[in-house]
Subunit: 255 residues, 4 copies
């Protein structure tokens, strides 16, 4: 969700300048973030199987994005080395260092990623263990501590952020690793830059289905409606939202 | 678009009372109509073929909803006789009488309907020849005089109102009949009341494609985001927006 | 359907040589044409409106493929001038001259084409007024005299030939012009050459829906299963099946 | 694949009698099994992670179809007790006892099932470790020993049998447990009994994507083309193909 980074700021400026060229038309009225947040019905809570201690090796045709040792496959929003904190087989968001993104760009893929909310996390709603995975840099699958923590449903863990809530809430407790298995199909575009076929996503958290070939309506926008913007291959982005969320065992298979 | 009728009011009250039961959660912040209106890029203008003078008879398996003589297939929002004005082979919105809707309810269908903006129409943007066709009572295909009249693009003729603009602008001049050929597939629902398969619509105006199997995101809302609401078969509704739009040669084939 | 032309023969030879490279595997067992033909249930007969005498002009953004005068937009299977017979505002299949195809190649499109079975046609099943429209050169929408002439249903007029029967039978009598309005979306392909999104087609004959965003399973094959073959933009092909089917008023809009 | 059971025989007889009522039309020409089998291109071999020794518990909202102890959730084709062999935490096909199927019927679901080819299996192509999972009783996801054993690709493990090959071959060796995670959406039907929305399936084997929201074309047919047949909720069927394939840890979540 709310992406606080130079990357985002520069992007917004480009968008605004594009819009300002079309001055003869009324501007779309400005919105507030809470206008695109709704709270009911809350997804049912499902207790998943405990995540096994042993990390499974990646399939032989996968690109390993993090094998436990270093962030060489990642960079920050300015293309400089990623500066998040490396732990023992995992890495952790370093507050203030901004997002990190894969150097490699992807189209359709199957992504496996494991993440953990810090034990003893405090705060509530979106202020508790907040991060996210951006598909092709544009479409966020939310990460949040939703273990006994309610928030707007289209901002829950596993939501297509500010769009589609997850089918259920399948969180592990803080301090326990969660898995995401994400199957993503990139959009194709008409010559006018609208979706010819929209992006779609399937998400399993801890082996439980959260998104079932969900149509993504447009880019993740903190404020207002999703936008349809033409784009090509894009990176996986992990969000710095100021919380010490950790990640491990990340691999991707191009489809 | 803005449906001013008892039908709507009673419907809104039901919705509000449903929402008010869930008082422990924050309410979605109220929006303004202009927040869901955008003006660019304006669809390209295409000049269609002149509509033939002769009215084609309906296919033999169609249900004729208006054959030029009376409104016996229609009723007003309260289930009482439709009181719009009958002309010579057509009928016209009677301001203040509210919407009319088919007595019969439909699921999937092919709908043919012809409509005409009054010659000499004045006004601008949405205030010029405004009406609309509601599919299953929930999803509006906009009718508006868009001949040399710009408005927000997701409110143009042939838009899924407040959602998806038409591919092009294929208007006849005021005073000339337009045709709509609409192919609609009703949604199916999960047991939780969300779309299992969303509604889709294809629209041709004067033989020119405006909507190409477009996914409808939810109900037409004048204010705010589309909503997903479970429903069964529903009527065709024609909107009274205060303008003297006329209709003729209406038939429907159940698919 | 059965495309008898040098174009086809050369194409088949290429296919066979491709297959013969993979000699260590069993060959798919040869089939007979009638194995992919089924006769029931026969689509319901619907009487459409009479086609108006007046030809409607093409929309202003359409590419006119035949305006009544000459075949300059078309060529034969070898890229030489199309030699079918020009009539008074129409042209007719010239037996033995093979298919004709557009010089221009297309991706997604809306196609309007009118066609007529010769009055007094004789023969039965597929041997009566047989021709066809190939989308991107690969996927045939069948043309056949199905007026009081039964055939296998996936070979009827408006079928995706040898795949999907039309929803109904909406034929005009021999000697009367029929219209086809065809909305086609080209496939996209994975890097392995399979469909990422399959082709889809909507067909209206004489204003009546025959195919409703039907998924095309693969190339039209006279014998055996449809095949998935990677391809780019392709021509509209009209088939010479030996019958004197006529065509007029052909235009296409790129989507 | 080839279902040899009373269940099947009675089903075929019903089909034949239905067909024989329509005697005025030619019959679809009989086919041979090998006509719907193709061998190239062979899917790439991917080595998956080793399946963990520990069995994960089912999510809290799942219906457990086999917890390691008994077949009380299953019955044979005649509705009598399932007679397959119970082992230590798993069960095994008992040759000659025919299929087993769940007593409960399902619509849309997420299914987890683990299966093992017997160590030391011999034979080749389809004659080696053959079984299968039928979704709603109609659509088979193939089970076969494809570890260093080639067969026709639309008959491989993870194929929609006789329809769509898997994206890759992600087999464990014989004697090692495989996992299937299957997400299935049931078809909806038009009033004419054809698919309004076809069934779709996503399959992961050992965490590797084999089917990505694949459209199922019709029922699994050992001979000839898939068929579209109207049906409601249906059982999970496990196939007795004469090989001692074992199963464990089976659960299903209704969607």
């Amino acid at each position: 969700m709310k992406l606080i980074s130079l990357f985002t700021l520069s992007f917004l400026l480009v968008s605004l300048s594009l819009f300002s060229q079309e001055s003869k038309y009324p501007k779309q009225a400005p919105m507030k973030p809470e206008m695109s947040e709704y709270w009911t019905p809350q997804p049912k809570v499902v207790t998943p199987a405990q995540t096994p201690e042993t990390i499974l090796v990646a399939p032989s045709d996968a690109i390993v994005l993090f094998d436990g040792s270093d962030l060489s496959m990642w960079e920050n929003s300015e293309g400089k080395p990623a500066e998040w904190t490396i732990g023992d087989g995992f890495f952790t968001v370093k507050k203030g260092k901004g997002i990190i993104k894969t150097k490699q760009l992807f189209n359709d893929f199957q992504l496996h990623i494991e993440w953990r909310i810090p034990e003893g996390i405090e705060g509530k709603s979106q202020g508790r263990g907040n991060s996210g995975v951006f598909l092709q840099g544009h479409y966020e699958i939310q990460i949040l501590d939703c273990y006994q923590n309610e928030t707007y449903v289209n901002g829950q863990t596993g939501s297509v952020y500010k769009q589609t809530p997850p089918l259920v809430n399948a969180m592990q407790k803080p301090g326990v690793w969660n898995t995401y298995d994400i199957i993503y199909n990139a959009p194709t575009f008409t010559k006018d830059g609208t979706y010819r076929t929209p992006p779609t996503v399937t998400v399993l958290q801890n082996g439980v289905l959260l998104q079932n070939h969900t149509t993504i309506l447009g880019t993740t926008e903190y404020i207002g409606f999703p936008k349809v913007k033409e784009h090509g291959a894009g990176p996986i982005i992990l969000q710095d939202h100021g919380d010490a969320v950790s990640f491990r065992n990340i691999w991707i298979r191009e489809l």
